[in-house]
C-alpha cells in the first residue's frame, strides 16, 4: 500500500470518529454552565500546546504492553497498539481533539440564546430545535472542522513517527515518507510527495476560509 493510501485511510477514520464527538462536546461546552468548565476546556486544548514528541512519548507509555493500561488495550484490541494502524488512529484522535471541539463550540456559541428560546416557545422540542434551528446554522462550522481535522491528520508528523514507527504499507504516511526520502537524499520523490500535500493543504485552507465567510454572512 502506498503512503498516500495509509494517510487517507488514517485521515478518514480520524474525521469520521471525531466529528460526532466534537459536535457533542462542543455543544455541551457552548451551552452548559458548570464549575470546572475552564478545566475541561483546558484539557481539551492541551494537545494543541503539547509538543508532538511529548504526546507521542506519553501515548507510547500508555500503549506499552508492560504497563497496566497497555495490558487492557492489548486485551481489548487483541494485539499491542504500538506500531499498528489502530494505534495510529487513536493517537490521531487525541492530537486532533481540539480541532474537532473548538470550531463546534464557537459555532454553537455564536447562536443567539434568544433564537433557541424562540424555538422552544414555538413548541419545538430540544431535538427538533437541534434539527430545524441549530444544525442549519452550524453546518459551515461542521464542514470547516472536518476539513481541518482531515488535512491536519494528513500532515501530522511527530506523533505518527513515534507511535506508528514508520512501517512500510501499514503506518508510513506521506508526511513520514517525505522525511525518509530526504534522509536518503531522494529529493525528487520527496518533492512529489510535498507538492501533493501542498496542493491539498491549499485546497483545505480555501474550504475553511469560504465556510467561515458563509457562516459570517448568515449570522
Amino acid at each position: 500500500m502506498s503512503p498516500f493510501f495509509v494517510s487517507f485511510k488514517l485521515a478518514l477514520w480520524t474525521t469520521l470518529i471525531l466529528l460526532p464527538v466534537g459536535m457533542l462536546l462542543g455543544r455541551w461546552l457552548a451551552f452548559a454552565q458548570f464549575k470546572g468548565k475552564a478545566w475541561v476546556e483546558s484539557l481539551i486544548l492541551l494537545p494543541l500546546v503539547l509538543p508532538p514528541t511529548v504526546i507521542g512519548y506519553y501515548l507510547l507509555l500508555v500503549f506499552s504492553p508492560d504497563s497496566f493500561s497497555g495490558n487492557l488495550v492489548t486485551q481489548w484490541f487483541g494485539q499491542p497498539l504500538v506500531f499498528t494502524f489502530p494505534g495510529l488512529v487513536i493517537a490521531s484522535i487525541v492530537v486532533n481533539l481540539p480541532f474537532a471541539v473548538q470550531p463546534m463550540q464557537l459555532a454553537y456559541g455564536s447562536l443567539p440564546q434568544e433564537v433557541r428560546e424562540a424555538a422552544w416557545v414555538s413548541g419545538l422540542s430540544s431535538s427538533k430545535t437541534w434539527w430545524h434551528i441549530e444544525l442549519p446554522q452550524i453546518w459551515q462550522g461542521i464542514l470547516g472542522s472536518a476539513t481541518l481535522i482531515f488535512s491536519h491528520t494528513l500532515g501530522e508528523f511527530g506523533v505518527v513517527l513515534l507511535v506508528g514507527g514508520n512501517i512500510e504499507g501499514r503506518t508510513r504516511t506521506v508526511s513520514i515518507a517525505i522525511y525518509d526520502h530526504v534522509q536518503a537524499f531522494d529529493m525528487l520523490s520527496a518533492g512529489w510527495y510535498s507538492a501533493a500535500l501542498l496542493v491539498f493543504s491549499l485546497a483545505a485552507l480555501m474550504v475553511v476560509r469560504m465556510s467561515a465567510q458563509k457562516s459570517k454572512r448568515t449570522h
Binding site: 443567539p112 434568544e114 424562540a118 422552544w120 416557545v121 413548541g123 448568515t218
Partner: protein
C-alpha cells in the same frame, strides 16, 4: 372537566377569571424575587421597572424559560407551575406567544417559514394559510419569502409578532419589543399593536421601562423594583396616585415635597409645607398631623401673572427662577421655592412667557391647581 385546584391564599385575595393569568414567584437564593401579579383575558398589563429590576426574569419564568425556587403560575384553568405541589409544565406545552427584545427570528428561514414553524397540529396547507393571514394582519404581505436579514428592524418585529400570535397562544408575552427600533418606527408599531390587540382575548404582558409606552399601550401596569412588585392597578391610577415615594420616583415624578396634613376642608385638604406656607390639594382621608409627601403634577403648574384669577382651588407660591431651558415650543423651567429650599420643575408653552422673565435669579410666582396635588402617606414609603 377537572378543575385545577387553586391554593387558598390565591382564591382569597383575587377572584379567578377564566383565561386570566395569575403569577406569584419567590426566590431567596441569587437575586431575590417577591412577585405577585394578575392579568385578565384581553388585558394588556405593563410590567415596568428600571433595568435590572427583574422584569425580564418574571416574564421568562412565566414563559417557562427559567425556574424559580417557589412559585405559582396559572393561566386560565391550567396550572403551569406550582412548586408546592411539584407541578411544572414545560415551555413547549405552555403554548405562549413571546416576542423577544432582539426579534429572535430564525435567520435561515423565510418570513413565512418563521411563522409556519410556530403553528402546531395542522396540515401543511392550513399552516401556510394561517401564517399568511397573520402576516397580513401585521402588514407584512408581499415580504413572505424574504430572509430576516433582508428586513428592517420594524419589519422583523412585525414577523416576530405574527409568529407569536400564529400559534393561537394562551398568553402573549412581550419582552421590551420596541427597544431595538427607532423612534419613528416605534410610533407606527404602537398603533399597529394597539389595533391588533383589540381582537385578542388572552392575557398580554408587556415588559418595558418606558412610561410613555405604557400610557399608549397598556390598560394596567405593575411596578417592579429590585425583584419586588410594588403596585398594580390601572395605568391612570398608578401614574397619578403612587402608593409610595419610591414608586413616585420610579415613575419619573420630580416635584416631591415633605409636608404634614393641616386641615380638612369640604373638597380640599390643606397641607403645611415648611415654615408657614400651606398648600391646598385634593381631599384625602389621612389624619391631621400625619407626615406626607406631596406630589405636584407639572401640568397643574402655571406662571402667576398679576392678572391671573386666583380661584379657591389654586395655590400661589413665591420663588425665583433657577434655570429655564427652551425646548422646541416649550420652556422647561426650574423654580426655587422660597418657603422650602427645594425646586419645582414644569413646562409651559413658549408663547405664554417672555424670555426676559425667566432669566436665572428673577423672582417669580407660580400657581398650582389643587387638583394636581396628591398626598402620599409617609408611613407607606
Amino acid at each position: 372537566m377537572h378543575t385545577t385546584p387553586i391554593i387558598a391564599s390565591a382564591s382569597a385575595t383575587t377572584p379567578s377569571f377564566d383565561s386570566s393569568l395569575e403569577v406569584r414567584l419567590q426566590a431567596q437564593r441569587g437575586p431575590s424575587l417577591d412577585v405577585s401579579l394578575e392579568c385578565g383575558a384581553g388585558e394588556m398589563l405593563a410590567l415596568v421597572g428600571p433595568s435590572g429590576s427583574g422584569k425580564s426574569t418574571v416574564l421568562r419564568t412565566i414563559a417557562g424559560l427559567r425556574k424559580v425556587d417557589q412559585g405559582f403560575v396559572r393561566c386560565g384553568n391550567t396550572l403551569w407551575m406550582d412548586t408546592e405541589n411539584k407541578k411544572y409544565v414545560t415551555v413547549q406545552q405552555r403554548q405562549v406567544g413571546m416576542v423577544f427584545q432582539h426579534y429572535a427570528l430564525f435567520p435561515h428561514k423565510s418570513v413565512i417559514d418563521n411563522v409556519i414553524l410556530a403553528i402546531r397540529n395542522k396540515s401543511r396547507k392550513e399552516k401556510k394559510h394561517i401564517a399568511a393571514s397573520w402576516l397580513e394582519r401585521t402588514n407584512m404581505t408581499g415580504l413572505e419569502s424574504r430572509r430576516p436579514d433582508q428586513l428592517s428592524g420594524g419589519q422583523k418585529q412585525r414577523v416576530a409578532l405574527a409568529r407569536a400570535l400564529a400559534s393561537n397562544p394562551a398568553a402573549l408575552l412581550l419582552d421590551e419589543p420596541f427597544s431595538a427600533v427607532d423612534q419613528q418606527t416605534r410610533r407606527k408599531l404602537y398603533r399597529e399593536l394597539a389595533k391588533l390587540r383589540t381582537g385578542l382575548d388572552i392575557p398580554m404582558i408587556l415588559v418595558t421601562h418606558d412610561v410613555g409606552e405604557v400610557q399608549q399601550l397598556a390598560d394596567s401596569m405593575c411596578l417592579i423594583y429590585k425583584g419586588q412588585t410594588l403596585q398594580q392597578g390601572s395605568v391612570h391610577d398608578v401614574m397619578t396616585a403612587p402608593e409610595s415615594k419610591t414608586i413616585a420616583k420610579l415613575l419619573g415624578h420630580q416635584n416631591l415635597f415633605s409636608a404634614t396634613v393641616a386641615h380638612h376642608g369640604d373638597h380640599l385638604t390643606r397641607y403645611q409645607l415648611g415654615d408657614g406656607e400651606t398648600l391646598q390639594g385634593s381631599a384625602t382621608k389621612l389624619n391631621v398631623g400625619q407626615a406626607v409627601t406631596l406630589l405636584i403634577a407639572p401640568s397643574a403648574i402655571t406662571i402667576d401673572n398679576d392678572s391671573s384669577a386666583h380661584d379657591i382651588g389654586s395655590n400661589r407660591l413665591k420663588g425665583s427662577v433657577r434655570d429655564a431651558v427652551s425646548m422646541g415650543d416649550e420652556w422647561s423651567i426650574t423654580v426655587h421655592l422660597d418657603a422650602v429650599t427645594k425646586s419645582l420643575r414644569f413646562r409651559i408653552p413658549q408663547y405664554q412667557i417672555d424670555s426676559r422673565h425667566v432669566l436665572p435669579g428673577t423672582p417669580i410666582n407660580v400657581n398650582v391647581r389643587a387638583g394636581g396635588i396628591y398626598a402620599i402617606s409617609e408611613s407607606m414609603s
